[in-house]
């Protein structure tokens, strides 16, 4: 029988363009902080899950094994999971299997990314994700396909670039209050609109930065969680879905794979009306339009209606449904797997009232974190409750 799983501790490192720490050291720092927060030592941990995106970033082609020391996995049942940018939220999903299944009572989940070793730019790792015959000879980059997607989204629903820019303004502004953030800033829609065009309609300030960093959570069974804390945050729903790498097949205006993942997680958590029941959302926002895309996939806004949330104040930190109160990837930074886990950490801190200056105004009990990635094909979702 499935057991209830709680998050009982969280930790993360600074997110920066280049950190002195190695990937192992980053993993260690985030894991140690999460253990300390839970009042545990490594001896109390029964299994370990490490999440990290392409090996090509760190430049070590067996990254899971390489990172094991820093993740506290030596001599324990240890797994490395990987679904591209969706990895950060997939890591606690895999941790959930460990605990909900009854196999283990405690599981340490660590997500790490050190993108800076790859030169001349981390984006080079993405050249090899495209079809080697039909796409790569053109010099296709990720920015191209995001731009195609953003334009399709704007075209289908009549959305303006200025409306999308509101997301960058909100998230970078929220990140000013995050002690680990790389790119917190008070900017305006005009700043975004006037920022350098990279791949139209995508401009410099529509995009999150590459980073180094790590983040971690501790999962525990209900029995153990209740012994250790008065404030467990329940991981009540998990969902994940993948589509094909044939991204050319998809309706670029709507992420169906996110919808499927969200519905799986909501069903498990008993959520019938997401927009009414979810208090805080941390959707994946590597680009500002992606937050909107994902809010729609998460059933938190109607199709083409997500831009209204930021403009009308609903998704602001003091709004009715704060979205990315952490500052998101746009503000805190985007060390791929660690960025998704950062969102799970943020939900944990928000639901415990431990988010400091970032604490949302409303009395929040239910939060959803979501990540997305691979070749625009994966949705990973967790629903958490205090």
């Amino acid at each position: 029988m499935r057991r209830r799983v709680a998050i009982i501790g969280a930790g993360m490192t600074l997110f920066r363009r280049r950190m002195l720490e190695t990937g192992k050291e980053l993993s260690f720092e985030a894991a140690k902080m999460a253990l300390d927060a839970a009042g545990l030592t490594l001896k109390d941990i029964e299994s370990v899950v490490e999440g990290s995106a392409p090996d090509a970033f760190d430049g070590v082609h067996m990254k899971g094994e390489y990172l094991i020391d820093g993740s506290g996995g030596i001599g324990k049942p240890y797994q490395r999971v990987y679904v591209g940018g969706g990895t950060g939220v997939f890591t606690p999903v895999a941790g959930w299997w460990n605990v909900a299944s009854g196999l283990y009572d405690t599981c340490l989940c660590v997500a790490e990314e050190k993108m800076s070793p790859l030169h001349p730019h981390p984006q080079y790792a993405f050249w090899s994700i495209f079809d080697q015959i039909l796409e790569r000879p053109l010099g296709t980059t990720l920015l191209w396909i995001f731009s195609l997607e953003m334009r399709r989204y704007m075209h289908k629903y009549g959305i303006k670039e200025e409306e999308i820019a509101e997301v960058a303004v909100k998230n970078k502004g929220n990140a000013v209050d995050h002690p680990c953030a790389q790119l917190g800033a008070k900017i305006t829609v005009d700043d975004v609109m006037r920022s350098e065009p990279i791949c139209s309609p995508v401009k410099r300030l529509d995009v999150s930065p590459p980073s180094d960093g790590a983040a971690a959570v501790i999962l525990a069974s209900e029995k153990v969680a209740k012994k250790l804390t008065d404030q467990p945050v329940w991981l009540d729903g998990v969902g994940w879905t993948l589509d094909s790498t044939h991204w050319t097949n998809r309706d670029l205006a709507y992420p169906e794979y996110v919808e499927k993942a969200a519905k799986m997680a909501y069903k498990m958590a008993g959520i019938k009306n997401p927009r009414k029941e979810i208090d805080i959302a941390e959707p994946y926002d590597p680009f500002d339009y992606k937050e909107l895309h994902h809010l729609e996939g998460l059933q938190l806004a109607g199709k083409g209606e997500a831009p209204k949330l930021a403009i009308e104040g609903v998704s602001q930190r003091d709004g009715d449904m704060p979205v990315c109160p952490s500052g998101g990837l746009l503000g805190v930074g985007n060390p791929i797997a660690a960025a998704g886990m950062m969102k799970v950490c943020e939900c944990f801190w928000q639901l415990r009232g431990e988010a400091g200056k970032r604490q949302v105004k409303k009395d929040a009990h239910t939060a959803v974190a979501q990540a997305w990635g691979d070749l625009m094909q994966v949705g990973t979702v967790t629903v958490m409750r205090s």
């Binding site: 280049r18 002195l20 015959i133 000879p137 731009s147 334009r151």
Partner: protein
């Protein structure tokens, strides 16, 4: 060390240079070979149709991922394509500023799944409208090899 005492100036971090020399020789696959041959010999795009769900895929593939059966019905498509979405690439792949933006489009075909991403032969991005009809501009038959660069670009239909 507390989180706020971290090194945040990347120039202060020492590093060592190394590279991992790897080279790959990719095959086009069973359906890919057929697609390449049709492009090289007849200058057309090969599609494949699923006998069960009747979906047509361009480029042709060996199997339908939904019904999970082989697609044996392969045929060249005759319809022009249309622009599903496009972008103007202002930076070249190495991150340097491009002299002129390259216009790139995802081209789809009526009643078919999938599509082909390629350059669009227009002077400016404001000449592009989503849904506009396009056709491929190909190398002459004798220089074609069946590779993606047999297509020079897609061009709007007059």
């Amino acid at each position: 060390m507390p989180v706020f005492e971290k090194l945040s100036q990347s120039s202060q971090a020492r590093h060592w240079n190394d590279s991992i020399p790897l080279e790959y020789h990719y095959t086009a696959g069973v359906a890919g070979e057929e697609f390449r041959r049709e492009l090289r010999d007849n200058g057309r795009f090969l599609a494949a149709k699923c006998s069960k769900c009747k979906s047509t895929y361009v480029p042709a593939r060996l199997f339908c991922p939904q019904c999970f059966i082989e697609m044996k019905d392969m045929f060249p498509i005759n319809n022009p394509g249309y622009v599903q979405s496009f972008t103007a690439v202002d930076r070249s792949r190495d991150g340097s500023k491009a002299e002129h933006p390259t216009i790139v489009a995802l081209v789809r075909f009526e009643s078919a799944k999938g599509g082909i991403i390629h350059r669009l032969q227009v002077d400016r991005s404001d000449q592009v409208v989503l849904g506009m009809r396009v056709h491929p501009l190909l190398k002459d038959k004798f220089s074609r090899t069946g590779a993606l660069d047999d297509i020079l670009a897609f061009k709007p239909l007059e």
